[in-house]
Symmetry: C2
Subunit: 128 residues, 2 copies
Amino acid sequence: MGKRKPEFEALNRNCPIRDVLDRLGDRWTVLVLMTLGEQTLRFSALRREIEDISPRMLAQTLRHLEKDGLVSRQVYPTVPPRVEYRMTPLGHSFFDPLQHLIQWADEHHEQVRQAREAYVAPESHEAL
Amino acid sequence: MGKRKPEFEALNRNCPIRDVLDRLGDRWTVLVLMTLGEQTLRFSALRREIEDISPRMLAQTLRHLEKDGLVSRQVYPTVPPRVEYRMTPLGHSFFDPLQHLIQWADEHHEQVRQAREAYVAPESHEAL
DNA sequence: CAGGATCCAGGCAGATACTG
DNA sequence: CAGTATCTGCCTGGATCCTG
């Protein structure tokens, strides 16, 4: 393999880059990040914004993001409890590439939809 | 676009944007796209580059990408068979935002690693 | 209010074997 | 070579109930 950007090589197997990207794999991470955005939001506020997320998944996703240093969690020892989430500087730095992704999806989802509709599978007995 | 990016609203629930982004969810899509890059590659070549992918997963991932119109598949009716994969123009348009992502991961994975190491979970009996 | 604990189903993905 | 078929484990994520 010839002249390839160095990042490409790094993508193979044991590289930490893949490790980071894999986090996007789950269903909610991107959504939570985008919802959080520049704001500071409480747990219940996030639940309201992402209507179809369960408390379990929201908590889990927030833990992961917190663990990775993208989101910070602030607890106010009041009654009733109040917990606020916001992005860390590291989280904000991720916001930019994420927006490119959203923008692409926004601009091209129609093309993708059409491609899916027009698609016919290559000869085979059964679908995968 | 204004201050409050309209795409954010669109992310909720039934939006096609989420539908497109979800494709990144699986473990191999991004990897295949990055490996393909500007090149035209055969099935076996892709297998060699992505060492730890099974033929099943490679085929499935390629089908999805083909269905979404990001990758084109060309069959040469020779013996032995020869099938080449390359990105479509739509696929190439996706390449750009993807690179931003890779670049971010490349630049920040060390910070993420450190954050993970330093992280201590909030009070609880057991981990999730 | 902000989650944790538990149970459970469905899909993703691995391993293996096989074919045109 | 370029896949497919099948079996199966595992993990993700949903639903529900519970608590400080």
